[in-house]
């Protein structure tokens, strides 16, 4: 029932996630922010087991922040992704694994290029041009296969994202009225109204 997408454009990564917080048949709130800013140029959309999600997301955020403070330079997206993947791979082999899936979108300041990673609770890592988690992925991925353009401007990227969102809203039986959208580029992270 939770849904998140992300796509890479020209010098940016767009990340979107639904804003419903629900348990069984009850929707508790519809303004939940499921995209964390884990470091100045890194966004992480999380989904999965309630409780595990925020716990793990905060764990990642705090550790990456410590790295940043200790070492002046923040960890590059590829290194952050590897560290997160390693944490999940260790977790799945422990007594109580974190059941959390992530979309990691960031801007590599040293290489001046956007990066996107699809990560799941098993510790699977894939660097991808676009990605999605949840039931919404069944609709979004085919649309992105057809319409994604890695050189798209931010406006064009937002249009593609809007297509995905409206398709999910139309066809998924669960009502996901509102989506939170954030973008990361060389200037950092900011929220976008769509």
């Amino acid at each position: 029932m939770e849904c998140s997408f992300a796509l890479i454009g020209d010098g940016y990564v767009l990340v979107a996630a639904d804003t419903n917080a629900a348990r069984s048949i009850v929707k508790m709130k519809s303004d939940e922010d499921k995209i964390k800013t884990v470091s100045p140029h890194l966004l992480m959309a999380y989904s999965g087991e309630p409780g595990d999600t925020v716990q793990f997301a905060e764990y990642v955020e705090r550790n990456l922040r410590l790295q940043h403070i200790r070492n002046i330079h923040e960890l590059r997206p590829s290194a952050s992704a590897s560290w997160i993947r390693r944490s999940l791979a260790d977790s799945i082999r422990s007594r109580h694994p974190y059941a959390v899936n992530l979309l990691l979108g960031g801007f590599d300041v040293a290489a001046e290029t956007p990066k996107l990673y699809w990560i799941d609770y098993l510790g699977t890592l894939a660097e991808v041009p676009f990605a999605a988690h949840g039931y919404g992925s069944y609709f979004a991925l085919s649309l992105l296969d057809r319409y994604h353009n890695p050189k798209a401007s931010l406006e064009e990227g937002i249009e593609i994202l809007k297509r995905c969102i409206s398709e999910v809203q139309k066809r998924l039986v669960i009502g996901l009225e509102k989506f939170n959208v954030k973008v990361v580029d060389k200037d950092g992270v900011r929220e976008i109204e769509i």
Binding site: N71, R76, S82, R86, A110
Partner: protein, 260 residues
């Protein structure tokens, strides 16, 4: 409030004395020289353990280069030169290599040079504060590359202090070498300029009258032009002789002298 160990001035003095002994040991060790260029870093060292009966076949063919006495490969992007107690140095190099691989394991990237220096310094500092063990009698020069700060050169000493340098020297005659470097170093040197400078300074500070591969270890860190990845090269004896010949330092052959 329970204090596990009360702060003791006597302990502090004792530690300081041990550190001074360590520094003293280092000041008798073979010189290691490092120079930073805009496209690479150069390390050179004077070997003290030499002799006809020494088996250096590994240095000639196997391993990652170097005789295993002064200059070591720590990771793809870092080489280190050591001066001081050899056994302590070997232990620290092993620790550094493990730390570099540990970083690679978690982050899938080469360890940033300064972080490696910090990890070793944290270890060395521990030996001045906990356990009653003596400090490591080793000074190290770390030469390396990472994408953030590009080429770098660091020096760390037994106390666990480190600093970044454009050119520096440890071991015997490091004072003379350091002042020579201060005079001759220029900010926009290339690796070739740095090599020439290093050879010049080494020839002035080394005990031996002639430079040759038996007494000199040489290494560089550069960037591969095609892959854009750091490339560490620790010269084999034949390479050192070729390099010296290229810079006009002829090797005096003892047998030839006898004949004439």
């Amino acid at each position: 409030m329970i204090a596990v160990r009360r702060f003791s001035l006597q302990r502090v003095v004792y530690t300081r004395v041990r550190l001074e002994y360590a520094m003293e040991a280092i000041s008798h060790a073979g010189t290691v020289l490092g120079v930073l260029a805009k496209d690479g870093v150069v390390l050179a060292a004077e070997k003290k353990v030499t002799g006809k009966l020494l088996d250096l076949s590994i240095a000639k063919e196997g391993g990652y280069g170097g005789s295993g006495e002064k200059i070591f490969l720590v990771n793809n992007n870092v080489i280190a030169g050591v001066a001081g107690i050899t056994a302590d140095a070997n232990s620290l190099i092993n620790y550094a290599r493990t730390a570099a691989q540990r970083h690679l394991f978690s982050y899938n990237e080469d360890i940033p040079v300064e972080q490696l220096a910090q990890i070793l310094c944290d270890l060395k500092q521990g030996y001045t504060q906990y356990g009653g063990l003596r400090p490591f009698g080793v000074s190290l020069l770390y030469a390396g590359y990472d994408p953030h700060y590009r080429f770098q050169l660091y020096h760390s000493d037994p106390s666990g202090n480190y600093s970044g340098w454009k050119a520096t020297c440890i071991g015997a005659n490091n004072g003379t070498a350091q002042s020579l470097l201060k005079q001759e170093y220029k900010d926009d040197m290339t690796v070739d300029d740095a090599v020439a400078l290093v050879i010049k300074v080494m020839s002035k500070t080394m005990d031996s009258t002639t430079l040759g591969s038996e007494k000199l270890e040489f290494a560089t860190i550069t960037l591969d032009s095609t892959t854009k990845q750091p490339k560490a090269k620790i010269f084999r004896p034949a390479d050192v002789d070729a390099l010296l010949a290229k810079h006009g330092i002829a090797k005096k052959d003892d047998d030839t002298e006898m004949k004439s």
